[in-house]
Assembly symmetry: C3
Homo-oligomer: 321 residues x 3
């Protein structure tokens, strides 16, 4: 698999400075790329790596043109990272042309499910009655879409995804738990991607809702009646408890935990590993986790932490003197 620079700019645009006949055999990061490879510089911070790179060609922003030309071939694009993303798409399409839409014969699909003819259903998927899968959506192998759940268009669901298991609802009854049947479903918009083994539970009464353009990584748990706003991206191992509402254009770092029944505004960014235990009403960057240290130092500080409130009181007393 190889593409000439001419073919790349013909497909994706950009301003080529260099030999259009140069054959690109692969994509690679700046510091690893060789003469047969194409790379990109998206962050001006890495400019020093540009001069040292052996890449056959580099995608750069207009402001980097001089520096890039001093080095060799380049493609100038307003947003090199976006250009790179589209280049990966072009590359994938050329090297492994996707099979047409198809339903793998091993998939188990209820007669009362509705699969768009332009959807693709992988091996050993299970699609239950009343579920609907939109055009251009691709289910990898071993995905479950439960009763009455709806997946929009151009979505990608990775292996092991479970859409529409029961939400976790029980009423206490004399020391035991009485099941609250989960009567809602899951509604997933268009252009949503869902990572491997991620689970999205059906709602208790109303539906759990994932809006257009949301991207979920692997091993994420989305509780019942959660709503996630448009184009929010959530990294791996995040848990979102029931009835939480997350705004649009948020990013949630990996391993974060989000309690139930709270609301996060649009454009909120949560650091990885943070615990969101209250609503957040203003856009911004929020963090909360215990910093790592060598174990001996941590032990001393963690022990003192249990006296922290007392320390404050003692400090106050001293200040009064």
């Amino acid at each position: 698999m190889a593409l000439r620079l001419a073919a790349i700019v013909a497909a994706l645009g950009g301003e080529l400075h260099g030999d259009p006949a140069l054959l690109v055999e692969g994509l690679a990061p700046l510091e690893q790329a060789g003469p047969g490879q194409l790379s990109f510089l998206s962050n001006p911070r890495y400019q020093p790596q540009l001069a040292a790179s052996r890449a056959g060609c580099v995608i750069v922003a207009p402001s980097m043109l001089a520096a890039a030309q001093a080095r060799g071939a380049c493609i100038v694009a307003p947003d090199p990272y976006l250009y790179f993303a589209r280049l990966t798409q072009l590359w994938k399409k050329q090297s492994a042309p996707p099979a047409g839409p198809a339903i793998h014969p091993s998939a188990v699909i209820d007669a009362a499910a509705v699969i768009d003819p332009a959807a693709s259903i992988g091996a050993l998927c299970v699609i239950e009655r009343g579920a609907r899968i939109g055009a251009g959506t691709r289910l990898a192998p071993r995905v479950t879409v439960g009763e009455n759940c709806v997946v929009g268009e151009r979505c990608v669901l990775h292996p092991g995804v479970v859409i529409g298991a029961d939400g976790f609802g029980f009423a206490p009854n004399a020391g035991a738990w009485e099941k609250i049947e989960q009567l809602g479903a899951v509604r997933i918009g268009n252009d949503v991607e869902i990572g491997a083994n991620t689970c999205i539970d059906r709602g208790a009464l109303a539906d759990t809702v994932i809006e257009d353009g949301v991207k979920l990584d692997n091993l994420i748990q989305i509780g019942h009646n959660v709503r996630i706003g448009r184009h929010t991206a959530i990294a791996g191992c995040v848990g979102v408890a029931g009835s939480a509402t997350i705004g649009a254009h948020c990013t949630i770092g990996g391993g974060a935990g989000i309690l139930g029944h709270l609301t996060i505004a649009d454009n909120v960014h949560i650091s990885a590993l943070s615990n969101v235990t209250r609503s957040i009403s203003r856009p911004g960057h929020y963090t909360g986790f215990f910093p790592i240290d060598d174990n001996a130092a941590w032990e001393k500080n963690a022990a003192t932490l249990k006296q922290l409130h007392g320390l404050r009181e003692r400090l106050k007393a001293l200040e009064k003197k």
Copy 2:
């Protein structure tokens, strides 16, 4: 799907104040319910929402009768939330009568597994030799029950559950790891529910045990030789390390982590996201996680945290003066 109030009280009891012929077309929370919908008030705190609700009928406690009647139809029941739970069960049974017990033809079941004729096995399940599945238990699609593992009666296992993978046991051997074969199994009691993609490992020598009535949410990891006591409920994304013993009637919030080889008493309640790193011998409510803050404030506090023990020493020195 619709039910008259008369049919509901005939099935579930309760004292109806209102027109028995009123047709209920759905269940909904107080603030969203319309005239064709039935709602409930379980927490007196939400009484203000009662007056404003447009619900066709509301389930209330005896103490709320006057307030509810001022508004319209109501059903009085001693525990409205429990009544609501049973109503969801009635609703589900009416709207989607469960198919009889059956083994889906795509399931892969070893000849030496024992499936009760009143159990139901979903599509693409795998049940290995010596495993046993009790009466009334329902396995959703894509569940694995490993060799010699036992699942009791009336259990529900959601998609992707793995019962009886090997526990994580290795002995160090000259810088590498020697596998400790896991010779135990998993024993699950009656009325246990297990969420999507949750894993319960088999024991090393003895069995891992989940007692009657335990409820586990999605994406939970239960290590080898763990024992979880009756009617304990564990929310999503919790990890329980090997040989931990958790008492009966506990609740463990989502995202909590529980170390191995410790013991938690009955009636212990762990807040979501907390790290349980020592045994807990007394009933109560326990918590431990770093609170979230805006990132700039967190950075300052987290940096100071690493000097906390030193701060205490300095405070002591000042106090001595």
Copy 3:
């Protein structure tokens, strides 16, 4: 299933002090073992349990010979825990002789995948084109190995494992996300074990790499372009973000989180539940999590924590006086 002590030492070595004809019917921990069971003492700390044990025979280190003989039969071995590990292997082989290598007929294997004839593929696995599975490797049921991913020799992959789902890569584009196709694969060495429902993502450009002898527990997320060094062991529910490099011979405790683009040296040990948010260049033991407390105490301390930096400033001011 039972073995005489003579057969055990014939297979595994060690110095038997006791009746070679004694029939062992099972393995059990010291405090639970009965006369028909074999146990072991690996930690001298547990010596008091040795005297009290009813085990038919105990595996001990040479230094424990006198104490063990005072009690009854024993096998002396330089590393009793390692001896025990091998004994579990012997036991398993005797009690449930593994079927020969085989591909379960329900597995879905692409014609362009390469399965070594000495590999074993469980029910309902999916192996995509270009994937390769080495000799002696065993895939449990319901495992996915994606396109072009390579699994070495003598590996064990437990149910629900997903190798080679797309890494989580998107470029921002006018408020939405543009997919970065993941063009790399996953390369897994020899003697690697991977727990149930664990996910290892394919690389963006280069491959994600798991070196020889790595042991991964259940429900672990390994992001794209991660590299994990030889014989490192990672417990359940750990998340490793993209492009992290973890050294050889490390141990990572359960529930820990490891940020992306950082480097952890060889022989680093991370406590369970810790947040690794920076590179670690020196071997050692590192920890970082908020200690648990009763909820009331935690609330007071957590609230004060938000003023910690201010407290330091006030302490400084007092010291200046």
